[in-house]
């Protein structure tokens, strides 16, 4: 496992270990300012074997033993510590950076077809399609791609890519997917989004519909199977949280999640910090990826309140 592969570690003097730093911090006035669960969380970071813990060795080690930190007032130490727990280099940009090390064995799958599906409705384009059926554990997912095999732009996932991605999904994520379209053209809405947000360099990768229809758009650059699977798992978090709590992450129904985020303190990724909706999607992806792995309990200690809520959604611990 190369947990630091996606986050380069800058060339700096060899850091004090997180354990040594934590031992020092536990004697400082800032320590009682953290609740017992938060103290336990730091211990887990300092002594664990997760990718987060690996980065904590230098991310927290250097920060917590710096002269600035040691000399700071307790309130300032608390602020600095909170900041260190909310940013890179400790956190990954997205949780899929870390869950790569815990890839579970993909389920067996078969691909049958194709059969011709005349005048298939792709976004912005009606044309004949080849229909394949991917079967995973008795569950069948139809996959459509243009019969003429033409894509604009030219790079697109294959049926085999889709089958592999579906076979790697946790059951709750796979359960959401009812149909996959490997689309022949770029998302027709991209021009509107570019005008609306004033950024022309974004293009659509995927659209997930509420009824489990997935549209994957062609691109100029190749994307791997893992990226495809990660995006589908991330979407699982949006789907369940919207059904449970509605569309306003600042609304009262979302209060339990916001409180869990507050009590846990530590973010699962920097992207999770962009909104409570992204926090629940990233946390769900982390939870499902780690469930049943040797690191599950370690992550539960890092995000106890979030995992408690996710247990209720996904049927408890395992």
């Amino acid at each position: 496992m190369n947990s630091n592969a996606a986050i380069p570690v800058p060339a700096r003097p060899a850091p004090t270990t997180a354990s040594e730093a934590l031992a020092a911090v536990s004697t400082m006035p800032v320590w009682p300012l953290r609740s017992p669960p938060q103290q336990s969380q730091l211990n887990t970071l300092a002594t664990g074997s997760s990718p987060l813990a690996a980065r904590a060795t230098w991310a927290l080690g250097l920060k917590l033993t710096s002269p600035e930190f040691v000399a700071a007032e307790p309130a300032e130490q608390a602020r600095l510590l909170k900041a260190a727990l909310s940013e890179t280099p400790l956190l990954p940009g997205v949780v899929s950076t870390d869950t790569a090390s815990q890839v579970k064995t993909a389920a067996a799958y078969t691909v049958s077809g194709p059969t011709l599906d005349a005048a298939h409705a792709f976004p912005g384009s009606i044309r004949d399609a080849d229909k394949f059926v991917v079967t995973i554990g008795g569950r069948e997912v139809p996959v459509f791609l243009p019969h003429d095999g033409q894509f604009t732009p030219p790079v697109q996932h294959t049926v085999e890519d889709v089958a592999k991605a579906l076979a790697s999904l946790p059951a709750p994520s796979l359960g959401q997917v009812k149909q996959v379209n490997i689309d022949p053209i770029a998302n027709p809405e991209d021009a509107f989004w570019a005008r609306t947000y004033g950024m022309a360099n974004f293009s659509s990768y995927m659209t997930c519909g509420s009824e489990g229809r997935i549209d994957i758009y062609p691109a100029n650059d190749p994307r791997d199977v893992k990226y495809l699977a990660d995006t589908l798992v991330h979407e699982t978090g949006h789907a369940w949280s919207n059904k449970a709590w509605g569309d306003d992450p600042q609304g009262p129904a979302w209060a339990p999640w916001r409180e869990a985020v507050r009590q846990d303190g530590l973010l699962p990724s920097t992207y999770a910090g962009s909104s409570p909706a992204e926090d629940v999607a990233e946390s769900t992806a982390l939870y499902l990826a780690m469930k049943g792995t040797p690191l599950a309990e370690e992550y539960r200690k890092l995000y106890p309140k979030r995992f408690e809520l996710l247990d209720r959604q996904f049927g408890g611990q395992s």
């Binding site: 989004w193 659209t207 997930c208 519909g209 009824e211 650059d221 919207n242 992204e278």
Partner: protein, 74 residues
Amino acid sequence: MSAAHPGKIVFVDAAGERVMAVGEVPATVAFVQVGGAPVPVVRVVAVTQGDRREIKSYGVDGALLSTTYQQSRA
């Protein structure tokens, strides 16, 4: 579940909120197909961070109708 569009769509992003009339946006943004019928979109929330953007479209009842994932090229 399909219905006439209420007429306005609220777009929310880091810059704040802005309202557009349904006639100002493409039909595929104003309506999402659900069960073969067009369902009006009344709220669109975009989150952009780094090279990643998510655009979520919501219906009148607050239901999440679709999520589009975008990537940027440097």
